[in-house]
Symmetry: C2
Subunit: 287 residues, 2 copies
């Protein structure tokens, strides 16, 4: 399997679906729809929707439902980025090398564009008619998931390194949503309960890897490669995995988690080469 | 029908359901759950969930689904209030006589508490298993509904009075959600399509009345009665119905819309005395 080609092919499908699912920029209120499109159609890596689609593949049910689920996860993810970048949160001016939403459209419109993207994610899922998909996203996204991670992440700024706290933050801020992306793909594919369990474990571990690599790259990469200011975690005194455990342990943890994620896949006894290749790609990614 | 007793009885049911549906304030992250509960359990009038429950009554199906729909609409409504009060939006320090969420918990937590309440609304609906309810809320709430109204409301501040603009703002910011509340009650009750049409019309007109009365009260009532600073619309140069059409026309429009709303109810040929009494109550309310 050529992972670069696979990712490129899925990205193209996802870009088209994202573009098609959002109202045209000319739709009233034009400024809001421009802000929504700007915050979504910005060259993101689309890891979450790709994982969602890949998680349906072992079940051989190419269906519109999987695309809707994939797109919904990405729309929600983009909404959190818009809100995270706000001055009262991480106060970031750049994302993927471009001005953030509030810099370009003003703070009020950024709050509202984030809200509208969040709502649009649930609209996409409602349109599938599968309430279970909405339930997965809501549980992963809400006050016991992504939002919990974000609250504790902000509260942790400047506090002493703490292993259990960083684990809580990474699990909720990142891993829970990536796990949900994988679960939603599997549910759309019609996975049985035990299969869903194995894929949950794969998703969670892959999500943790994704976040630890993010932390590592923030310290070791350059602004040009990442398209955002590196070293910003240090500057904000963010609690990162390397800050708590050291860089060597961070790399070792990434390897261990990836091994465990792939072991969970093997338990499935289905064709999961795409998920495996994505996990290996995420472990080695440089941006 | 004694409307005061009816409202009090429904409010009690709704307060209990709101209290029960939110995680306890001690749940990690405690600050987030405190902020969510503070922003919801604050003595709101609960007009939207009451209308939702009342709209199911003609169909005689007292069901848990109706309560979930009612609660979801109120949670979403509360989330919009938290975000509307933010410094970058209406910059309000008081709501119902108490410090607003961002004054009490900080701006970042207010953004995140609003997000979490929005997500929780969709979780409540997902748990009913009726995707159609999620779809109703999403369509009413999103970039072609409440959020559209909010964007144009902010953009209209300080602009010259304009009848078609105020109509767009009131329709989207307020009437569309109240219409959705009524529709969701009717859907949970199992209304047929033509019945749903009549109730939609009732909900929309009642929603417009609600907003016009809000505008009137902002100009004519006192801080003590409303529990929020009156005259704030004038101060922010908000575009209000009386500012565009004059106070006399505002009162006349309220009467006309209420008559039309009740006429739509009469078309139903079902027992709708509660909806009728609520519409008449809203027309005459003084706070």
């Amino acid at each position: 399997m050529n992972i670069a080609n696979y990712l490129k092919q899925k990205q193209a499908i996802i870009e088209t679906a994202l573009n098609d699912c959002l109202p045209p920029a000319s739709t009233r209120p034009a400024l809001l729809h421009e802000a929504m499109r700007y915050s979504v159609l910005n060259g993101g890596k689309r890891i979450r929707p790709i994982l969602c689609m890949a998680a349906a593949e072992p079940f051989r049910v190419p269906s519109q439902t999987v695309i809707s689920a994939a797109i919904a996860v990405e729309l929600f993810h983009c909404s959190t980025l818009v809100h995270d970048d706000l001055p009262c949160m991480d106060d970031d001016d750049l994302r993927r090398g471009m001005p953030t939403c509030h810099i370009k459209f003003g703070e009020a419109n950024a709050v509202l564009a984030g809200d509208a993207l969040m709502i649009h994610a649930f609209q996409m899922l409602a349109e599938t008619g599968q309430s279970r998909l909405s339930l997965e996203l809501a549980k992963a996204a809400g006050s016991l998931g992504v939002i919990a991670g974000q609250v504790e992440d902000l509260a942790a700024e400047g506090r002493a390194p703490n292993a259990s706290l960083i684990d809580f933050i990474h699990m909720n801020k990142t891993a829970v949503l990536i796990r949900a992306a994988v679960r939603m793909g599997a549910i759309a594919g019609g996975a049985k309960e035990d299969e869903l369990e194995n894929l949950s474990s794969f998703g969670e571990k892959t999500g943790m890897v994704f976040q630890i690599i993010d932390d590592i790259l923030d310290e070791t990469s350059s602004d040009e490669v990442l398209g955002k200011p590196t070293g910003s975690d240090l500057e904000l005194h963010k609690m990162t995995y390397p800050a708590v455990h050291g860089m060597k342990a961070a790399h070792a943890e990434v390897k261990k988690l990836t091994r465990e994620a792939i072991a969970a896949l093997d338990m499935l006894r289905r064709e999961t080469s795409a998920l495996r290749a994505i996990a290996e790609y995420l472990m080695d990614r440089e941006f």
